[in-house]
Amino acid sequence: MEWFLANTGMILERGGQHLVLALVPMVLGLVISIPLAQLARRNGALRSAVLTASSLLYTIPSLALFIILPTILGTRILDPLNVVVALTIYAVALLVRAALDAFDSVDADVSQAAQAMGFKPLARFLQVDLPLSLPVMFAGLRVVSVSNISLVSVAALLGVGNLGMLFTDGLQRDFVTEVVVGIVAILVLALVMDAILVLLERVLTPWERAGGRRDHAADHGPHPAGEPATSMAGEAA
């Protein structure tokens, strides 16, 4: 505790670096995967190509990718850009799948009704399909957020600054407190991010609270009656 208080400044700085390294790839991944999923939905060959490529890239362990990327990008091994690119690749791999599932989860009747009411394609996408796909989309985002925050710490092994440095430093100095503080800090970061995403989802999908929840769960089949699974996981993760 004393160590924690004496080093708050350093921990906050590392935490800031950590957050940036985790968040930027998540946003980039979202921006890339939504249009990609839309394209893939229209083209069967592209769809299977995207799914194959994403699961292949996702299979590559992060530590290996952090080292392989500099050769491809021409960056130095310490460059945080490697981490951002690697995590963006993972984020796209997860989110493109989530986005495809999310758009598939939108009731085709609703989509067609919107078209019949005169929505142009872009307006229909932005005002009908996208909002209705948010619950499944957010489930994907929450997975990416937790996994990114945990993965960033691996980059500390190569000397890229973030909370993972507390682990490498703690090992070198044989100092358990520092490692524990690092673990707790990363857990707190993951928890706060997850809470923010849950909150954001609630704000963006007001109809889910107005009894729509049950219908939605029913659409997805026999998962035991809707309620606690989602909310519990949220509080815990």
Binding site: S55, L56, Y58, T59, I60, P61, S62, L63, A64, L65, I67, I68, T71, G74, I77, R97, D101, S105, V136, A139, R142, V143, V146, S147, I149, S150, L151, S153, V154, A156, L157, L163, G164, L166, F167, T168, G170, L171, F175, V176, V179, V180, G182, I183, I186, A190, D194, H216, A217, H220, G221, P222, H223, P224, P228, A229, M232, A233, A236, A237
Partner: protein, 248 residues
């Protein structure tokens, strides 16, 4: 930049690196050995618990919460904590890896069992099967595909994390990354990374082949074609298993 590639190729092609106690075959064997050991222990813990929870529905909330919380634990931090507390040696990092691997296996088993059509379970019960028979003859066979998905995720996660284990003085292919880092020997680092990437992809390929050959046979796949879609994708733990999460 081009000479990095040729240097790496030269490193990989050098016969010296393919023999001896620090050679690639030995490191590869170590890597697979650690992975196998972790998977063995983790499966022995996760599958029985997952079957119990999936079948009875008891402790479902606790399992989902636990799986979510453990997923947020940083791999590296846990590994180092175990080493500092329990000392260097084979088992401390292995236990840390087990703790990280149980959640995807548990979630996969639980998701598999609960994705089985309730009508099938009721029919089995109506035919007079005992609870154990219902579990092993009706639920388990129908859940295998989803369960195996969790297992695949777990294996890949362990292969990735075992590369990190080299940082705390164990073997495995990760050795090349850290030895290379200390010596600023980039071809060695890159060569090791490529080996790890190829290993992960090859193992995933073998597992998916296994899945295709042995797990999709029989009528179950045909009659419950919508099984995957029947899983609730808005549940992060389930969604993660389905979209192949659990990354390190």
């Amino acid at each position: 930049m081009s000479n990095v590639f040729s240097d790496t190729f030269a490193w990989l092609a050098d016969p010296l690196h393919w023999s001896g106690s620090m050679g690639i075959p030995v490191r590869l064997a170590e890597h697979l050995q650690y992975t196998g050991l972790v998977m063995l222990i983790a499966t022995a813990i996760a599958v029985p618990v997952g079957l119990f929870v999936g079948h009875t529905g008891r402790g479902r909330v606790a399992v989902v919460a636990l799986a979510g919380a453990l997923r947020a634990l940083p791999t590296l931090g846990l590994l180092i904590l175990f080493v500092l507390l329990a000392g260097i040696g084979l088992m401390p990092p292995i236990w840390a890896l087990v703790i990280l691997t149980v959640p995807p296996l548990l979630a996969g088993t639980y998701a598999g069992i609960s994705s089985v059509d309730r009508n099938v379970v009721d029919a089995a019960r109506a035919m007079g099967m005992t609870e154990l028979q219902v579990l092993f003859r009706a639920e388990l066979p129908n859940a295998l595909t989803v369960m195996f998905g969790g297992f695949r995720t777990g294996v890949l996660q362990v292969i990735a994390t075992v590369s990190v284990v080299a940082y705390i003085n164990l073997g495995g292919l990760g050795r090349y990354l850290f030895d290379g880092l200390v010596l600023s020997d980039f071809p060695q680092m890159l060569g090791g990374s490529l080996l790890i990437a190829v290993l992960a992809i090859a193992v995933d390929l073998v597992l998916s082949l296994f899945q295709r050959l042995f797990l999709t046979q029989g009528a179950s796949k045909l009659s419950y074609h919508g099984q995957q879609a029947a899983v609730d994708l808005t549940d992060p733990v389930v969604a993660e298993t389905v979209v192949q999460g659990g990354k390190s």
